[in-house]
């Protein structure tokens, strides 16, 4: 499609403006983490490192980070196993009720977080009579993290055809050997990408967490929310926020490098051979 020069420039400018719109508020948080003024009026009055040193000494922050890491790790592990199994089942098999399962797996991300939150809260407290704890948070997180792993795995499975697996079993490899030596290596980078995204999703989740976490326990987002409106703590929140922004670059960068599939970003044309691309595009 031949676009006029002015159309290209307009589109480019628009993109630049929106990127500016995306980054300015984040930069503001970075600047405010060094702002000595507690009310963060603009422009900042003077530079200070006090909030940074207070953040690093804060035990509450450290404990919350440890809790978040633990929750995210376990939920990612669970969702990796369940998501992969589900992707294999739905991509390599045809069965009655497949559509229902397909809809079922996207439901936890298609329904608002508050629904997932209150539904699980109600299940745990009213129906099962279980007291809320970090385990209930993990169960909740795994339920929606499963979807990101599933999405990444199934996108990769669509692009790799099953002829290699058939060859492997024709050559006498058992099912588990074929999975270990043929299927898993093909899936690996997609699973790492899906796992990283699941981890990031769990680490950042706040709405479902507030409904499923036990009293007195806090993940990092819960800590942030609890301290957001405390005049003494708000500057420290800025510091934590900056660290989070920087830390969030890592999983995104890794996921992007490892897999073109990251959150539906298909770069199949560059990676797969033309034949496979064609097959996968007709499959849609």
């Amino acid at each position: 499609m031949k676009l006029s020069r002015s159309a290209r420039i307009t589109l480019g400018t628009l993109t630049a403006v929106v990127l500016l719109f995306i980054y300015v508020p984040l930069l503001l948080v970075v600047v405010n983490s060094f702002n000595s003024d507690r009310s963060f009026g603009w422009p900042p009055r003077s530079f200070t490192l006090e909030w940074w040193s207070r953040a690093f000494q804060s035990e509450g922050v450290r404990e919350a980070i440890a809790t978040s890491l633990w929750v995210a790790l376990i939920s990612t592990a669970i969702s990796l196993i369940l998501g992969t199994l589900l992707a294999l089942a739905l991509q390599r098999h045809d069965f009655f009720g497949k559509d229902v399962i397909n809809l079922l797996v996207i439901l936890p991300i298609a329904l608002p977080g508050i629904v997932t939150g209150i539904a699980l809260n109600n299940l745990f407290t009213t129906v099962l009579g279980v007291s809320l704890s970090l385990w209930t948070v993990i169960i909740a997180h795994a339920t929606f993290c499963m979807v990101t792993v599933f999405n990444n795995a199934i996108a990769r499975l669509r692009r790799t055809n099953s002829s290699l697996e058939e060859a492997s079993s024709d050559l006498g490899a058992g099912i588990f050997t074929t999975f270990r030596l043929v299927t898993l290596p093909q899936l690996r980078s997609a699973l790492v990408a899906g796992g990283l995204l699941a981890f990031a999703l769990s680490f950042d989740e706040i709405i479902v967490t507030t409904f499923t976490i036990g009293a007195g326990q806090q993940t990092l987002p819960v800590w942030i929310l609890n301290n957001l409106f405390r005049p003494n703590q708000a500057p420290v929140v800025n510091v934590v926020a900056v660290v989070l922004i920087i830390a969030s670059v890592v999983p995104v960068w890794l996921a992007q490098r490892l897999s073109g599939d990251a959150i539906g970003m298909t770069r199949s044309r560059k990676k797969a051979s033309p034949g496979i691309t064609k097959a996968s595009s007709t499959a849609r």
């Binding site: 993109t15 199994l85 098999h93 439901l107 939150g117 109600n122 079993s169 099912i175 942030i224």
Partner: protein
Amino acid sequence: MSVDTRPADAAPGRPSRQALSALLYRRGRLRLAGLLTAPAAWLILVYIAALSALLITALWTVDTFTGKVSTTWTLDNLIQVTTDPVYQTIALRTLRIAVLVTVVDMVLALPIAFFIAKVASPRWRGVLVVAILMPLWASYLVKAYAWRNVLAEGGLLEWLGINSPGYSEAAVVIALSYIWLPYMILPIHAGFERVPDSLLEASSDLGAKPLATLRLVILPILVPSIIAGTIFTFALTLGDYITAQIVGGTTQMLGTVVYANVGAANNLPLASAVALIPIAVIMAYLLIVRRTGALNNL
């Protein structure tokens, strides 16, 4: 002589793993069951059970003395939620915010996704995708909070000489559009990437102007991706209450009501009844868009 092409069958005495492998190889159903049981059980036992329980709890009540959920069946909660003007106002406001956020994001995302996928040079494409992706994983709370700083009295907007909407419903729409924007750009970008360049060339060779190509060639291919994006922005906004707390001032959303009734008011049945509103809305939307194939683009 017939040659048995199947892998070595499990002879007696062989390791059981091999026997299991051979059995699974021969029985496709069994293999499927092995794959499907754990994840399906999780989704049904945890998620579907929870959603069903929510529906049932909405029909129960709270014992005013003990504050515990009492399993007395009643339609009171549902009637209250559907007829009380307070809930109607809040439901309509939430719906309005969700629609606005979705429209704003769609209008912003379409040209940008198009630019990244089809106009920018290949070297820039990767950079731009990462630039869009990065803030996606910067904490949700951080982003809502960042807008609080922008909108505050004496904040950045005022300094720039722009009239700040303050903490209001408009602020909620701005902040949520901001937070969910990548969720709209990404599926639409993926959609544009699936439009083959040759198709665009063919269209222009046949004399179509760019706008005609956009309308007749690109848009029909793109519809499922756009809908996938709207599911994210719409659903995420419908269920929000924290951004409303941070930048909304007194603006209440459905989520605020649900949260207040789970926590402070301790009325789970009423909270469940309120939560049924977004469920009904999203389910209706999913049913409508199911045929477009958008659900495979999530």
